[in-house]
Symmetry: C2
């Protein structure tokens, strides 16, 4: 079945996607080279400044002086950029300290990875082969249609180990049907989706209770943003301890503010197998050393009242935006807002006009969203003043109005 494009189709992606990318480039929306001014804006080479409304650093921790100092301190103390050996063999003791701290914070066995997508590339094939599930047959894998590219990319690798299906988005009937038909099912999904909306976690846990459904979540957009210790959206619903049928991964490069990824395993799961056989997790590039120091500092902040303060500031900004701008994501307690536009060229043009007004939004189009359903993606953050959010809302209204 080689070359059948069962799971991906580069030709279609490029033929249908590239014209929009080209239009976005010509509109000055791609490949922007900037300097961070340190006062809330990014500066272009010609001196124009704008506010990045598409940063996933939802709590502003990327710019926290303590986090930056954490990176600097570890470089000065360890005097190396790079251990240049698999972490499975030798690693800095502070990486163990970081994992211990995050494990306590998030009440699970946390393994830190180079990126979140590395975690998926390493873990999903071992889920497909049954090795990260409780004893039993190989599962049939069901990927949610809207699961992030970083998981979809791995589908053909999983399909070399087991049967792989794609379910409609959040389709519980499809899943329950699969659970009835197959001895074991593993479901792969986002916690919060990058185009808005969340996994139906409670209902999925009910299917887990009933059928033993295995759950794999990438909760990248919700880590740090949700939970008393920033443990993410799924964990706030999935009980105080991770059960052996659930694995959560997430990026440390979004709300957490540093770089890398985190895997959360339950107490009975095989951390050794993950380190040894989860592909990229055992290769010689592990999380860069300054990112370990920065992450230690971010983890410290996650254990203080400062976290809740930032979460509340973020929520206030989300509510303020929702009061002024109607979107299909309005009312979601979540920083990603998508303004549906429709035609790709109109989305690009509106994003260009918003940038003229000082705010960078992402024009999103195929293959990020379905054809003809382009839009503007705007991400809120805790470190935006309410005045800036109001100015943003005014600008969004202006660019959405029919042009003269």
């Amino acid at each position: 079945m080689e070359g059948k494009n069962r799971y991906r189709n580069s030709e279609s992606m490029i033929v249908h996607g590239n014209p929009s990318f080209q239009a976005a480039k010509e509109a000055g929306l791609l490949d922007l080279a900037v300097h961070n001014t340190g006062h809330g804006t990014l500066a272009l080479p010609d001196g124009r400044e704008f506010i990045n409304m598409c940063s996933c650093s939802y709590l502003g921790l990327d710019a926290e002086p303590e986090v930056l100092q954490g990176a600097i301190d570890v470089l000065q103390r360890e005097r190396t950029m790079d251990m240049a050996i698999s972490r499975l063999r030798i690693r800095l003791a502070i990486l163990d300290e970081l994992e211990a701290r995050l494990s306590t914070l998030w009440r699970s066995k946390v393994i830190v990875t180079t990126t979140a997508s590395y975690a998926s590339a390493g873990l999903l094939p071992l889920i497909a082969s049954g090795h990260l599930l409780p004893e039993g047959p190989r599962p049939v894998m069901v990927f949610d249609k809207s699961a992030h590219f970083s998981m979809n990319l791995i589908k053909p690798i999983c399909a070399d180990e087991t049967e792989v299906l794609t379910s409609p988005h959040n389709d519980l009937e499809f899943l329950e049907d699969a659970c009835r038909k197959h001895a074991r099912v593993a479901y792969v999904a986002d916690g919060f989706y990058s185009m808005g909306g969340a996994a139906v976690v409670k209902e999925l846990l009910a299917l887990q209770d009933r059928y033993g459904l295995f759950l794999y979540f990438d909760d990248s957009h919700a880590l740090s943003v949700y939970g008393a210790a920033g443990e993410g959206f799924v964990r706030t619903l999935a009980g105080s301890e991770l059960n052996p049928r659930t694995i959560i991964i997430a990026s440390l490069g979004k709300g957490f503010g540093t770089a890398g990824g985190a895997v959360m395993l339950g107490p009975s799961q095989h951390a050794d197998l993950v380190g040894r056989f989860a592909g990229p997790l055992g290769w010689s590039q592990s999380l860069s050393i300054p990112a370990i120091g920065a992450s230690m500092a971010s983890a410290r902040i996650h254990g203080t009242p400062e976290l809740a303060k930032r979460q509340q500031a973020l929520r206030a900004n989300i509510r303020l935006f929702d009061e002024h701008i109607p979107t299909r994501t309005a009312g979601e307690d979540f920083p990603i807002k998508v303004i549906d536009v429709g035609p790709e060229d109109v989305a690009v043009e509106r994003s260009r006009r918003l940038l003229e007004r000082g705010f960078y939004s992402s024009a999103v189009f195929f293959p990020i969203v379905p054809k003809g359903r382009a839009g503007l993606r705007i991400m809120l953050r805790s470190n935006l003043s309410q005045a800036d959010v109001r100015r943003l809302c005014d600008a969004v209204r202006e660019i959405s109005a029919p042009t003269a």
Copy 2:
């Protein structure tokens, strides 16, 4: 053809590999948590120090004060750990500067990636679909049997786009036969292999001339180590300009001493397509910001006589080792030396005894090498004194002698 284990087999890998990993762990050879002393050794929590003979930082650039300062300077100047947006949309101007500098240094269009394996995960599927080749039909892909795991992992993804074959190691007849049978062939290989030996680059280029063979090399172990500007082993043989039928990728986390990966494209290749459609290259985690600053500093050093000085010191250490220790890799002008042992348990025991004598070697066994062909891997570096190399050779002789 789902679940047929045509390209990978986790069960076999784990069943046959895990006992050796377990033995290595029990011998104190895995999961070592260390502090870098800054005087050439790593220190264990109990105070024992050893020299890491398995660092891929062949030129010691990871510990160069100028490189560390580069990382610190960029953090102090840009005041963020993380742009938290796809580099395709917004990136720090210094990332463009780094790419411009490396492009000049290595006479090609250089794109910097989060890791080298990200580059393969992004590029190989676009080679399979024909989009990174000159106009024409999709190629049949031939992976060298010994190609690194990071490329093998991607085989099933490529197989969803085209036919994928595996060739015996460096088998020119197999390749020429494939070139005769198929309209187009793309060959995927390492430049220098992580278990010793090199690609037969000249002969491959002859096949390229004759049949239009497309060549994809991961030259991670040779970047910085080879070439007047550290352009790597393949580039030193492949002419002064990259042709449109050759793509080279490499890690910046080995000889280069920092973190991340680099893609070298020829002047006519589509850098825009790579940025937009090569999967992980467009996702929101790009190279961490301190690593950009460190890489700028390493690139500066690559443009000075300091590079040749370090390359020569490395070669002197390689020659010294080869004079004293016979290996199948002796005489190779290359820092990775593999001492063949045979049985897995003997390799683990010898590695343990070498560590007792103050030198960490990697015990390598299945799935890193075939079953029953375990060995010790030792990597030489420029920043080892000749006295240390002599002590290492003495220790290797002691542990290889029959025990009383």
